[in-house]
């Protein structure tokens, strides 16, 4: 019999500096897995570590080490942190809640940015690393395989991965709807403020061919160039650069528009009316609103981008519900499948034992009835078998169904073993008790899920 445990920390429980300290890189993770598996060879481990979370998944016998305190101590020691301090930022989950949490993580429902697809790959990497370290077996294998399938289902069957949730990322989405390729495009930044840097960082994922920064203060522009490999140009040459630029990010502190309709009307013939995407994130605005009426000019100011973000968020309400339903259904299916796997051997044992008892009693009775013919003997054997089957049928059905039991499966298993004098099943990793939601496992003495 095995239990599922999870000890973790994520962006909701800890600040970035602490998450950074606890994070495990690829080599660190492999070493930690090897060490943990070497120390507890009967247990299964998966270590998931990303920029937003570090989570240690574990499957072990109910009364066996390691306990949460030991795992916490190990992590704290490994990273040179105080266990008490670390413990305040970590969460512990068991059994059903571990499955529910992992499925939510793989589906990005627990991510900082809902619908991000990176997490699914990170879960896969963590699982692959654990497989290579030989640290997963009959318990964590099905759990992680199911989690990966659930994550894929949520990201492909719901609209959760569609749209963006920040002004900068919305700007990137709009750029993708205007332009097909970016290697031949020029991005012009007018101003070198923090917001411009943020938008440019997002636009960098499109790998534009050239980046030009126009700024009144050349020193500030030069400082930005160090991080973004751009050309610096004086603001006086703005018209020339507008004629070449395809995407323009404007964020100056100017009190009057610096891109007027007259300027754009002069620029458009020079750029042969190629479409231009103007992103005006300055307050007050840098681009005159009437520029938006021009042909092949796509102007988005801060309000437009924020409205798109808000609309995307509201659109996600339905997608979020659909995703949560998929996760809940899959957790239930996983629990039912695990319940069937864990109860199967005990039920088999019980049937065998009762049929043996019935046969013994029948043999004793038949020994006292020498005149019974072969046909009658077979009839009596059938009778005994049918009685045993009928007696056991209803309670076994109730036991198999998740709605039928009011206590934890482990309680039922122990009760059956005690009441009917059954030995524990030998198959490793098959029996996995899942206490009912909100219940407490009285045998392991571990905190409730």
């Amino acid at each position: 019999m095995q239990r599922l445990l999870l000890l973790g920390m994520n962006h909701t429980t800890a600040q970035l500096d602490l998450r950074e300290k606890l994070a495990f890189g690829g080599a660190d993770r492999d070493a930690a897995l090897a060490e943990l598996h070497g120390r507890f060879p009967e247990c299964e481990f998966v270590l998931l570590s990303t920029c937003n979370r570090t989570e240690l998944y574990l499957a072990r016998q109910p009364h066996a080490p390691p306990r949460f305190e030991e795992l916490l101590q190990y992590l704290a020691q490994k990273r040179g942190l105080a266990a008490d301090e670390l413990g305040r930022h970590m969460y512990q989950k068991t059994d059903r809640d571990v499955a529910a949490h992992l499925f939510a993580v793989a589906s990005s429902l627990d991510s900082m940015v809902l619908g991000e697809t990176q997490i699914l790959g990170q879960v896969r990497q963590a699982y692959d690393a654990a497989c290579q370290a030989g640290a997963v077996a009959a318990m964590l294998n099905p759990l992680f395989q199911r989690a990966l399938a659930v994550g894929k289902q949520v990201l492909t069957q719901t609209a959760l991965a569609e749209g963006r949730v920040s002004v900068a990322s919305v700007a990137v989405d709009y750029a993708r709807r205007i332009f097909d390729t970016f290697a031949d495009k020029t991005v012009l930044s007018i101003g070198a403020g923090k917001m411009a840097a943020l938008v440019l960082t997002n636009l960098a994922e499109l790998s534009p061919g050239r980046l030009v920064i126009c700024n009144r203060d050349p020193a500030k522009a030069a400082a930005m160039v160090q991080t973004s490999r751009a050309d610096v140009a004086p603001l006086d040459d703005l018209a020339d650069h507008l004629a070449e630029a395809d995407i323009v990010v404007s964020s100056t502190g100017s009190s009057a528009p610096i891109i007027t309709r007259a300027l754009m009307e002069a620029v458009m013939p020079r750029r042969r009316y190629k479409p231009v995407f103007l992103i005006d994130i300055a307050l007050p605005r840098d681009v005159a609103p009437e520029v938006a009426q021009m042909e092949n000019v796509y102007l988005y100011d801060l309000d437009d981008l924020q409205q798109a973000v808000a609309a995307t968020r509201s659109q996600r309400g339905a997608a979020l519900e659909a995703a949560a339903k998929i996760v809940a259904d899959q957790v239930e299916q996983f629990i039912v499948a695990q319940r069937a796997r864990q109860l199967g051997p005990i039920i088999d044992q019980l049937y065998r034992r009762w049929h043996e008892l019935a046969q013994e009693e029948l043999s004793r009775t038949l020994a006292k009835l020498p005149q019974v013919s072969e046909a009658e003997r077979r009839q009596l054997e059938d009778l005994a078998r049918r009685i045993v089957n009928k007696l056991l049928h209803e309670p076994m059905q109730m036991l198999r169904s998740p709605e039928g039991s009011h206590g934890s499966v482990i309680q039922y298993l122990h009760a059956m073993e005690k009441l009917f004098n059954l030995g524990p099943p030998q198959e490793k990793g098959v029996l996995t008790p899942f206490p009912e939601k909100g219940g407490q496992d009285p045998f392991s003495g571990e905190p409730p899920s």
């Binding site: 332009f179 092949n296 796509y298 798109a308 609309a311």
Partner: protein, 268 residues
């Protein structure tokens, strides 16, 4: 005919499935729509081969059924090609309706006005091939134009990302321009070969006043429209929405030409 009607039904089913995908973009719906398109092409090809064998024509330009059917099926083939190479998810919503229209015209005109065509020389052989090839390219240009206009309108309205994925303006403009250029070249060839047929004194349905016939006037207006649409490298002020609108107008006129041809008086 029945096989071609089956292809039409499958294409309509594919359009319906694609519409459902707008609301719920599942992989199952995508695969179902795609397989319907493949089956439609299969059925349509079977219909063309059957028809060709029974009429002993090697190329699909022997009569209305073959010519229009081939144009419709090539449009579906283009959709399948693009979706296989570099997908534009909403393309089938814009190209399958003209494909269905062409196939329906093939069934209807193939039945009531077969207009069997017996080319006697190279000009007569090239004329329908180039003209229908031009129609095919113009249908693609018009679909690209429609998508361009919708996407440009959505960008102007600043509607949030989401909805049917139409690709990017730049790609749609490229599709529109390339298809229009190809169609224009084919139409020009079609018109030149038509003039050669008339010049050589071969019998046509156009009669002595061929220059004033609806077919010639419409074809010439299509030629003018696309000449304007293709003018963007010289006159870039036409690029973008104006070029897209011209492509749509051009295809509408081209379709009018195809219909006009069916009702021309005189003998083939």
């Amino acid at each position: 005919m029945l096989l071609m009607l089956g292809a039409v039904a499958l294409l309509l089913l594919s359009v319906v499935l694609s519409l459902f995908r707008l609301r719920r973009p599942t992989n199952t719906l995508r695969l179902a729509a795609k397989s319907s398109q493949y089956w439609a092409v299969g059925l349509g090809l079977a219909a063309l081969i059957w028809h060709g064998l029974s009429h002993r024509s090697l190329l699909p330009s022997g009569d209305n059924f073959e010519s229009l059917g081939a144009v419709g099926l090539l449009l579906v083939g283009f959709v399948l090609y693009v979706q296989g190479v570099r997908p534009i998810p909403a393309l089938d919503l814009f190209l399958l309706p003209p494909a269905v229209l062409m196939l329906l015209c093939a069934v209807i005109f193939g039945r009531i006005k077969p207009n069997a065509y017996h080319p006697e020389n190279l000009w007569a052989w090239m004329h329908p091939l180039c003209s229908y090839g031009g129609a095919l390219a113009f249908a693609i240009a018009a679909a690209g134009g429609c998508m361009y206009l919708i996407l440009a309108a959505r960008l102007r309205k600043k509607s949030p990302p989401g909805g049917p994925d139409l690709g990017s303006l730049e790609r749609l403009e490229r599709v529109n321009h390339s298809a229009a250029a190809l169609g224009f070249a084919l139409l020009t060839l079609g018109m030149v070969t038509g003039l050669m047929i008339i010049h050589r004194g071969a019998p046509t349905r156009l009669g002595p006043h061929w220059l004033a016939s609806p077919k010639v006037l419409l074809a010439f207006s299509v030629w003018i429209v696309y000449a304007l649409a293709l003018h963007t490298p010289i006159s870039p002020a036409l690029r973008g929405r104006k070029s897209a609108m011209l492509s749509i107008l051009g295809f509408a006129l081209m379709f009018g030409t195809i219909i006009a041809v069916q009702f021309m008086p005189g003998s083939p």
